[in-house]
């Protein structure tokens, strides 16, 4: 595939990625794959149809694989597709599947929400992870799906409706004020919280190559500060023994290990080892002069060249003691 010169890595971004991927071959593989479009993963919406029935329908028009036997809902369409073909298929319009990149499915697999639990999705739009969680919960329990802006809420609600999600209450609040007011009023605490934080998007280069143009280190620092605030407030509305998954679609350590390290140093939490169906690399222990908490190695870095996916970061916390 020819490279588009407008979308080359900025020198500072390239330098940072070389630090993260010190082996030349590894970095070269990364540099190559980010210029290739992503694979066509879809997730069967088990609220409406079983993976077997969906597979039967889709196999009449496309070649479809089930690459992970433990997760039959994850499907990979290997046929050459016309632009928009997945989104225009009848099965998509009927909400039988959700077009979702494989790495982005990892947050909910890590969260592992159960039917009848009370779950908060703090930054929920566009709804890929909320619909995945609702399906895992068999439309039972309750999900509070929150986002900040009305236009994002509209996209979220369209996706929730298309997927037949009925166990969700959609709220429009700033993440901090949401957690803060729930905490102050002693509202029921959450069993599980997903904080898929707004991030610099370095992991989405294959589907959004323009991210390379917009990349800016100042933004990373600003986002890192915001992410720390979000996670600090999120822990306050989690019940003792509850689970919080923090994820981003970026490689920037300031937005990943630095946030996790901040959480480990300031809150009564422990980090859990993840078992995901993609190749994970351990979190890094140091970035520039900053040394992180030793347990950040239990976090999961997903690189596109390891899995033929987008890039992602996932971590999972357990709250040891409720925060008063």
């Amino acid at each position: 595939m020819t490279k588009n010169p407008r979308y080359q890595m900025k020198p500072l971004f390239e330098q940072r990625m070389q630090t993260l991927l010190p082996e030349k071959k590894d970095f070269d593989n990364f540099s190559k794959i980010i210029h290739q479009g992503p694979e066509n993963f879809i997730r069967c919406n088990t609220i409406k149809i079983s993976p077997e029935k969906l597979l039967e329908k889709l196999e009449s028009k496309w070649q479809v694989k089930q690459p992970f036997p433990k997760f039959p809902e994850i499907l990979l369409v290997t046929s050459d597709l016309k632009p928009g073909e997945l989104g225009n298929a009848l099965e998509h319009l009927l909400g039988y599947y959700y077009i979702q990149e494989i790495s982005s499915m990892m947050s909910v697999l890590a969260l592992d929400p159960q039917p009848d639990e009370f779950v908060l999705d703090i930054c929920a739009s566009p709804g890929s992870k909320t619909t995945q969680a609702a399906a895992k919960m068999q439309n039972k329990g309750t999900i509070i799906a929150n986002d900040l802006k009305l236009d994002r809420i509209k996209i979220l609600s369209t996706n929730l409706e298309r997927c037949g999600v009925t166990n969700t209450i959609t709220t429009r609040n700033d993440a901090i004020s949401l957690c803060s007011s729930l905490k102050k009023s002693n509202f029921r605490k959450f069993d599980r919280i997903l904080l898929d934080a707004p991030c610099s998007g370095e992991g989405t280069l294959r589907s959004s190559p323009k991210t390379l143009l917009m990349w800016n280190q100042k933004v990373i620092k600003k986002l890192s500060r915001q992410q720390k605030k979000f996670i600090a407030f999120a822990f306050k509305c989690l019940k003792e023994g509850g689970t919080l998954v923090y994820s981003t679609c970026t490689h920037a350590p300031e937005e990943n290990e630095e946030v996790v390290s901040f959480a480990l140093e300031n809150f009564p939490v422990k980090i859990e080892t993840l078992s995901l169906p993609l190749k994970c690399r351990e979190g890094i222990s140091q970035w520039k002069e900053k040394k992180f908490h030793k347990d950040v190695e239990k976090t999961c870095r997903i690189y596109p060249q390891d899995n033929n996916s987008e890039g992602f970061f996932v971590s999972k916390f357990k709250l040891v003691e409720e925060i008063a």
Binding site: G95, F118, G141, N167, I169, N173
Partner: protein, 167 residues
């Protein structure tokens, strides 16, 4: 968000209407009425009291899923509710062929003679939307954002140089 919980006596009436129109006999949801006579379905575990408390604390935009709108004497199922409740829908179903489906999914009305009133459109064992018939024509209620935007297939008998609006 303005909302009102539907009482069980009213829910029974709604269910009776849904049974008469569509054959639906089970609605295992808390029903909530919002603006424009829209009913939403919530299957979550929060009680009415907890939902009310939550509404005091946060800015609730939506609860559950848009299920039905009440218009005149009709209970009109939302497009997405049709596929959620498809196993229960047995009445007022009109089957269409491939050519008609290609028009329907692009938002066109269909020249089909059938009974007056709200009808559910079926194609190859899938329920693909809802429309209103005046006995000679079925008016398409497929939401605009859910219509396919591509041109009609090359082999469609309806394919012409006319625009969609001309058809």
């Amino acid at each position: 968000m303005n909302y009102k919980f539907i009482k069980s006596s009213e829910k029974r009436k709604i269910l009776a209407g849904l049974e008469e129109q569509y054959g639906i006999t089970d609605l295992p949801y808390l029903l909530i009425e919002t603006g424009k006579k829209r009913l939403r379905a919530f299957s979550g575990s929060l009680s009415k009291e907890e939902i009310s408390d939550l509404a005091q604390l946060t800015n609730i935009e939506l609860i559950g899923m848009y299920l039905i709108s009440r218009k005149d004497n009709d209970l009109r199922l939302n497009f997405d509710a049709i596929s959620l409740l498809r196993n229960q829908i047995t009445k007022n179903i009109v089957g269409i062929n491939k050519d008609q489906f290609e028009l329907w999914i692009r938002g066109h009305d269909l020249e089909i003679e059938t009974q007056r009133g709200i009808v559910i459109i079926s194609f190859e064992n899938e329920l693909v939307g809802i429309g209103k018939s005046n006995a000679e024509k079925i008016f398409n209620y497929l939401p605009k954002e859910r219509r396919i935007k591509t041109a009609l297939p090359a082999d469609s008998q309806f394919r012409t140089n006319k625009t969609h609006e001309d058809l």
